[in-house]
């Protein structure tokens, strides 16, 4: 084997770049250090790119610069223009690009293995020489391409669902578990066979089947399970990078891949725990479909109290403490700025205002926190479920806006409920619950009716979230 005689400074440079990436994640332990962390990430990326360019004979520098300029320009403009409410679909789109890049790199390595130092040239007597890819590299390459392709097509579907181009409802194919398992087995079998036969059909069939399975895996998953899906795809994009790092023997890629892979896996775990669901059941899909909606359907006619913006304004301005519970509905109606305005006015009236965030509120981990930060809500007023749940009992008003299932007391008491066991915010313990909701008919993602609506201490504020908050602001002012 003549491959891999890399000078040691190069190995060190990639290691430093990997350490920069570790620091980038480490910085996120607090908002103060996070900006420095992001800077470390950019430095790490610069080191990796410059090192790579320095050690390779570049036959096509203008083209490369052109590609970077085009891609970088698109990236920068998107990053600047994107609305914060659209972050979940942006992240999904970015995941798909990582996946596609991994597939393309894998394909390029397959077509030109000598450039990557993963081939040996065999010259049998009296015949032209054959380039043979090392067997280990074939496995790494096959896995990298497979994971990359799954990341790509899965992320595209996630993007379409989050962006509203495709219904968020789960799409269930008959016998989908059999199809999915069969495809997975076929992919793994072909990767194993690839070590024996490096014929193009093997490589490209692995690629094609992987694109297909990414698609098949995500279409049956409903919109509300998106926090798990998007974390999972995050994880996959990491593993794809790691597999490519194995192929290229590049420590920066391996370290990064491992970091991103575990990051996504941990986020998926946190999201699953917050919904009290197993990872397997999320992947199996179908949650929140029409079948589930029927279960809570018969109780729609129960009596409830309806309030006006005026009532809400009065109740909250008289309170000592108000806790605001935002959910996906707040993001949909872009109510975060009006909400901050309301909180400011309440503070002028001497009311303490806090925010309570459920881990799965919104469509991706930390979604609500970003939206509140965008509206200039100080982060020390925003609390996680376990830090604030005990405070509802001493709170005058819980103001639920655009959240539903995460406040449903049935999760604590009703063993037959599909959300039984899910940790919920104890909003019903507050003296009064103000529940902003578009109409009484709709149910949350789990398709269950919320017991909370019919309680004596609950007042329903039926309107668009943003309009309602604006009305309340007028009435407080």
């Amino acid at each position: 084997m003549e491959a891999h005689v890399t000078p040691s400074w190069v190995l060190l440079a990639y290691l430093v770049s990997g350490i920069c990436f570790i620091l980038a994640l480490r910085g996120l332990s607090s908002p103060v250090s996070s900006r420095r962390g992001n800077m470390a990430g950019m430095i790490g990326m610069t080191i990796a790119v410059v090192t790579t360019l320095a050690i390779h004979e570049i036959a096509s520098l203008p083209e490369i610069i052109g590609a970077v300029a085009i891609g970088g320009g698109v990236g920068l403009v998107t990053a600047r223009k994107i609305q914060m409410t659209a972050m979940p679909q942006l992240v999904a789109a970015f995941h798909s690009l990582v996946g596609m890049a991994a597939v393309l790199v894998g394909a390029a390595a397959y077509l030109n293995p000598e450039a990557f130092g993963i081939a040996v040239r065999i010259t049998p007597i009296a015949s032209p020489s054959i380039i043979s890819i090392l067997p280990v590299s074939r496995i790494e390459m096959g896995l990298g391409v497979a994971i990359g392709a799954i990341t790509f097509s899965g992320s595209v579907i996630a993007f379409l669902k989050l962006n509203g181009n495709m219904s968020g409802k789960p799409i269930l194919l008959p016998a989908r578990h059999v199809i999915n398992l069969g495809t997975l087995v076929a992919i793994l079998g072909l990767i194993a066979y690839f070590t024996q036969d490096q014929d193009p059909w093997v490589f490209f069939t692995v690629m094609g089947l992987s694109f297909a399975i990414g698609f098949l895996l995500i279409i049956p998953i409903g919109g509300a399970d998106m926090p798990v899906v998007i974390s999972m795809l995050n994880s996959y994009s990491g593993w794809a990078a790691a597999a490519m790092g194995f192929t290229l023997h590049n420590s920066a890629m391996i370290i990064t891949g491992a970091l991103v892979g575990s990051s996504g896996a941990i986020l998926s775990y946190i999201m699953c725990r917050a919904m009290n669901r197993s990872f397997i059941s999320v992947i199996a899909g179908g949650f929140g479909g029409d079948a589930a909606a029927g279960a809570g359907g018969e109780v729609i006619d129960r009596p409830y109290k309806r309030g006006s913006a005026e009532d809400a304004a009065f109740l909250m301005s008289q309170a000592d403490q108000v806790i605001i519970v935002p959910g996906y509905g707040m993001a949909v109606s872009q109510a975060q700025h009006a909400l901050r305005e309301m909180a400011d006015l309440l503070k002028e009236h001497g009311v303490r205002v806090k925010y309570a965030i459920h881990p799965v509120a919104g469509r991706m981990p930390g979604h609500m926190n970003v939206l509140l930060a965008e509206a200039n809500v100080p982060y020390d007023e925003v609390f996680e479920l376990e830090d604030i749940n005990s405070e509802f009992a001493q709170t005058d008003v819980a103001f639920v806006i655009g959240a539903n299932d995460v406040t449903n007391p049935a999760a604590k008491t009703d063993k037959s409920s599909p959300i039984y066991g899910m940790p919920v915010l104890d909003v019903e313990k507050a003296r009064t619950v103000l529940f902003v909701k578009r109409s009484m008919g709709g149910v949350g993602y789990a398709g269950v009716d919320n017991e909370l609506f019919y309680r004596d201490n609950t007042m329903m504020l039926l309107a668009d979230a943003k309009k309602m908050v604006e009305e309340i602001v007028k009435n407080i002012g």
């Binding site: 332990s29 908002p31 570049i58 096509s60 085009i70 030109n112 974390s231 990051s263 930390g366």
Partner: protein, 93 residues
């Protein structure tokens, strides 16, 4: 580097990742996703090798496309993370 040393780096990095990510505050989980997104585009290293190589025109073009895609992610990912992080402020007093 032989396979075992690469594997060692990988396994150790997984452990580092595990502990580092648990220390990330939940309020910053969205920036965590966007920054991991940006750094996983270090795959651009592979794309550059392909794009810079000679010998196979198709490999070169695949590499160039991959460079462009990864660049979207690198620049976009870091920029959007920075934009988000700049929004997190403490109570002004």
């Amino acid at each position: 580097m032989d396979f075992i040393s690469i594997l060692s780096i990988f396994v150790l990095a997984c452990f580092v990742g595990y502990f580092v990510v648990w220390s990330v505050t939940p309020a910053l989980h969205t920036p965590l996703m966007s920054v991991t997104n940006a750094i996983s585009s270090v795959i651009v290293v592979g794309a550059l090798i392909a794009a810079a190589s000679t010998g196979s025109a198709s490999a070169k073009w695949l590499g160039l496309v991959a460079v462009a895609l990864a660049s979207v992610n690198i620049f976009g990912g870091f920029a959007v993370t920075q934009r988000m992080l700049a929004m997190y402020k403490k109570k002004e007093r």
